[in-house]
C-alpha cells in the first residue's frame, strides 16, 4: 500500500497545484452564488425606461387618479386625438395608447395598444392601478350607502393573515418546531451537492485514467504496481482533492459571512429594507409581514433538524456514491481510447445519477411515498435521494437497508471496475462493446 500512497500523493499534488484547481475553487461558489442571486437581483431592479402613455378615458373615472407611477407617465387625450393616435401611434411621442371604455365599471376590461411589445410588468402595473381605483370607488359607494359609522376603519381591521407553524412530534412525544420549507431547502441543497460532487470528481477520475492510457505511461506504471493499487490511489487521491476543495469553500464561506456581518449592522439592514420598500410597493407589503423574530425561528428549525445524523449520512453517502460512480467512471476511462468514445459508455453509468436529481421533486412532494422509498433504497439513486429524504425524518430500518445495499453495491462495482480497468488500460484500437466488457470480467489477472 506504500506504492498506492505514492500514487495518491502524485494524483493529489498534480491536481491541487494546477491553476485550474484554484480557478474552479474560486469560481464555482461565485458562479453558484450568481445563479441564485442575479435573477433575484434583476427581478428587484426597477424598470427605468421612461414611458408616456396616452389615455383616452370614456368613463372619466380616472382623471385625477392616473398621472405618474414610477417611470411611467399618463397623459389624458380627447376623442379626436385618440382617433388620430389610433391611426398613427408609431409616429407619435407616446409609447402606448390606453383605451378605457365607458362601461369599464361593469366589464372590468380596458385596452392597451402599442407598436412595441409591452412588458408584462407594465401591463400588470396598469391593471393594478385601474382595479385599485375602481375598487376604492365601489367601496366608497358601499360605505356611504350603508351609513355604518367608521366602516372603512372597521373593514381595514378585518384584514388578517394566518401563518401555520408546523410542529413535528418525536418518538418521545416532544414537540419540535419544523418547517417543510426548511426541510425542503436542506433536502434539495444536500441532494444537489452530492450529485455535483459525485459527477465532478467521478469525471476527474475518468479523465485521469484516460490520460494515462492515452500517453501510454500506464504500461510502465503497472509494471511497478498492481492495476488495483493504481486505481485505488487515483480514486482516493481525487477524493482528497474534493475534500480540499470543500474545506476551502467552507473557510471561504465563513470568511465572507463574517465580513458581511461586519458590514451589516442592524441599522444598515433596516435602512436597506426601507429603501427596498420605498422602491417597490409590491414587495413592501410582503416584507412588512416578515416579523423580526422569523429569522430566528428559521434558525431554530434548522437547529431542530437532526444535524449529527444529517452530517454522518452526508459523509457516508458522499463516500459511497463517489466510490460507486468514480470506480465505474474509471472503468469507462480505461475501456475507451479517446474522448469521443466515452459518451456512449458514460451515459449508462451516469443516467441513474441524473435520474436521482429529477426524483428530488416527487420526493419533496411526498417524502414517504413509494417513489421516495425505492429511490432512496436502490443504491444507484440512494446517495442523492436518501440524503434528500433525511431532513424530513426517516425510519431507521430504511436508512440501514439503504446503507447496507449501497455498501454491497459499491464493493461489487469496485470489483467489476477493477477487472474492466486492468484489461482496458492495455487495450488499444478496439471499440469496446458492453458484451466485450462482460468478457473482460472473466479474464485471469
Amino acid at each position: 500500500m506504500n506504492k498506492s500512497f505514492l500514487i495518491l500523493k502524485r494524483e493529489y499534488l498534480t491536481r491541487v497545484t494546477k491553476k485550474s484547481f484554484l480557478v474552479t475553487t474560486l469560481l464555482v461558489p461565485i458562479f453558484m452564488g450568481a445563479i441564485m442571486i442575479v435573477p433575484a437581483w434583476l427581478a428587484t431592479r426597477d424598470d427605468k425606461q421612461e414611458r408616456t402613455i396616452a389615455v383616452y378615458d370614456e368613463s372619466s373615472l380616472f382623471l385625477d387618479q392616473l398621472n405618474q407611477e414610477g417611470y411611467t407617465k399618463y397623459h389624458f387625450v380627447e376623442r379626436e386625438k385618440y382617433l388620430t393616435l389610433k391611426e398613427n401611434l408609431a409616429g407619435s411621442e407616446y409609447y402606448a395608447l390606453l383605451y378605457i371604455p365607458e362601461n369599464i365599471y361593469t366589464t372590468s376590461s380596458a385596452q392597451l395598444t402599442s407598436p412595441k411589445q409591452i412588458p408584462f410588468e407594465l401591463t400588470e402595473q396598469i391593471e393594478r392601478k385601474l382595479s385599485q381605483v375602481i375598487e376604492t370607488d365601489k367601496r366608497q359607494k358601499v360605505i356611504s350607502e350603508s351609513g355604518v359609522p367608521d366602516l372603512e376603519a372597521k373593514l381595514a381591521a378585518t384584514r388578517t393573515r394566518v401563518s401555520v407553524n408546523t410542529l413535528k412530534v418525536t418518538e418521545t412525544g416532544e414537540e419540535k418546531k419544523s418547517s417543510s420549507m426548511v426541510a425542503f431547502g436542506a433536502s434539495y441543497i444536500m441532494g444537489f451537492l452530492i450529485y455535483f460532487f459525485v459527477f465532478m470528481y467521478g469525471a476527474m477520475v475518468m479523465r485521469s485514467v484516460m490520460e494515462e492510457k492515452k500517453s501510454r505511461i500506464v504500461e510502465v506504471i503497472i509494471s511497478s504496481v498492481k492495476p488495483f493499487q493504481l486505481m485505488f490511489g487515483k480514486i482516493v487521491g481525487t477524493a482528497l482533492v474534493g475534500l480540499t476543495q470543500v474545506v476551502i469553500w467552507i473557510v471561504l464561506g465563513g470568511v465572507i459571512i463574517g465580513v458581511l456581518q461586519g458590514f451589516m449592522t442592524p441599522e444598515a439592514t433596516q435602512e436597506m429594507g426601507q429603501n427596498l420598500m420605498q422602491s417597490q410597493p409590491g414587495i413592501a407589503q410582503q416584507t412588512a409581514n416578515v416579523e423580526p423574530n422569523q429569522i430566528a425561528e428559521v434558525l431554530e428549525m434548522i437547529g431542530n433538524l437532526n444535524l449529527p445524523l444529517i452530517l454522518f449520512s452526508f459523509v457516508f453517502y458522499f463516500l459511497g456514491g463517489y466510490l460507486l460512480y468514480s470506480s465505474l467512471m474509471g472503468a469507462v476511462g480505461a475501456a475507451v481510447d479517446n474522448e469521443e468514445d466515452t459518451q456512449q459508455l458514460v451515459f449508462p453509468v451516469t443516467f441513474p445519477l441524473i435520474l436521482s436529481i429529477i426524483l428530488l421533486f416527487p420526493i419533496a412532494k411526498n417524502p414517504e411515498g413509494s417513489i421516495a422509498f425505492w429511490a432512496s433504497v436502490i443504491p444507484f439513486t440512494s446517495p442523492v435521494c436518501m440524503l434528500a429524504r433525511i431532513p424530513y425524518g426517516i425510519p431507521a430500518w430504511e436508512l440501514l437497508l439503504s446503507m447496507f445495499l449501497l455498501t454491497l453495491t459499491t464493493i461489487g462495482a469496485i470489483w467489476v471496475a477493477a477487472r474492466i480497468y486492468r484489461t482496458g488500460i492495455l487495450m488499444y484500437g478496439k471499440k469496446v462493446t458492453l458484451k466485450e466488457l462482460f468478457k473482460w470480467l472473466t479474464y485471469k489477472s
Binding site: K3, L6, I7, R10, T14, E211, E212, S215, R216, I217, V218, E219, V220, I221, I222, S223, S224, V225, K226, L426, K439, Y443, K444, S445
Partner: protein
Amino acid sequence: MEFFTAKDVVKVYGTTRALSNVSISVKQGSIFGLLGPNGAGKTTLIRIINQITAPDSGEILLEGRKMKFSDIGRIGYLPEERGLYKKMKIGEQALYLAQLKGLSHSEALRNLKYWFEKFDIGAWWEKKVEELSKGMQQKVQFITTVVHKPQLLIFDEPFSGFDPINTNLLKQEILNLRDQGATIIFSTHNMSSVEELCDHIALINQSKKILDGPIAEVKEQHKSNIFEISYHGNFDQVQRSLNHTYKILEHTETTSGNTLRIQHLAGHPGNELLRGLLPVAEITSFNEVIPSMNDVFIKVVKNYNAQSNKP
C-alpha cells in the same frame, strides 16, 4: 546459470491463443533476443514476465524460484509504446517512477543524478515532457527503466525514435549493463542489432516458439551451403570443373578478379569444392556464406507459415 525461465506458458484471450506452450530460458548476464513477426505473441510474453498479466498455465521462474509480485522491483521494462506524463516535470516524474519501483527518495535522487549527468541532460530536470523532442523523451524513458538497477531488463524496440548517434550510445549502455551483470531480454525487428547484441535468440510465430538457440548455432543451422569465391582465371574452365550438384548463383567479372557464388545442393563441405577448383583457377578467397539473422528470420517464418497453412 539460468536467471530467468518461462515454462510451458499458455495464454488465451477469448478464442485467440496468444501463447501456446512457450518456454524460454535466459542465462545470467546474457542478452536474449525475443524475435517474431507482429502479433506473434511477444508482447503478451513480455507482459507476463512483467506480471502485468498472468499466464493461464505454465510457470515463470526467477533464479529457479517461482516469481513473486515483489520481484517486480528487480525488473526494468521499456515498453514499445513509450509514454510519460506530458505535463509533469522530468525530474519529478523520474523520481516518481523510480520510487514506484521501490527506491527510497534519496536513493532515487542519487541514481537519477548519475544517469542525468551521464547522458548530459541535467538541464532538463525542471522541464516538462511536452517541451522535449521525441528523442529526448526516449532518453528520459530509458533512464527511468534502468534507474533502480534491475537485474532483469526488458527492452521492447529500444532504438525506435533514436538517431544513429544516440542509438550507438544506447547500445553501449546496454552492453555496459550486461557487463555489470544484468540479464537482458531484447525484443526487436531490427535484425542487425540482434546480431550485434544478442547471445541467444528465440523466435515466436503464431503463438508458438519455432526457433531457439545461441545466435551462432542458429545461423549455422540455417546456412544453405553457399560459398563465395574470388579467383583469377577462366570462368568457362571453372564452370566445366563443377558437376551437377553445384549451382552457380551469381558470377561477376572485374579487372581485379572474378567472384562467384555457388550453392552446393547436396550439402557437401567446402573442401571438395575447393579441391575441384584448385587446378583450374587461382583462388584469392574462399568463404562459406553464413546467413544473416534477417535471412534466417524470413526463411523460418515463411516456411512455418507455408506449412501451417497447408490443410
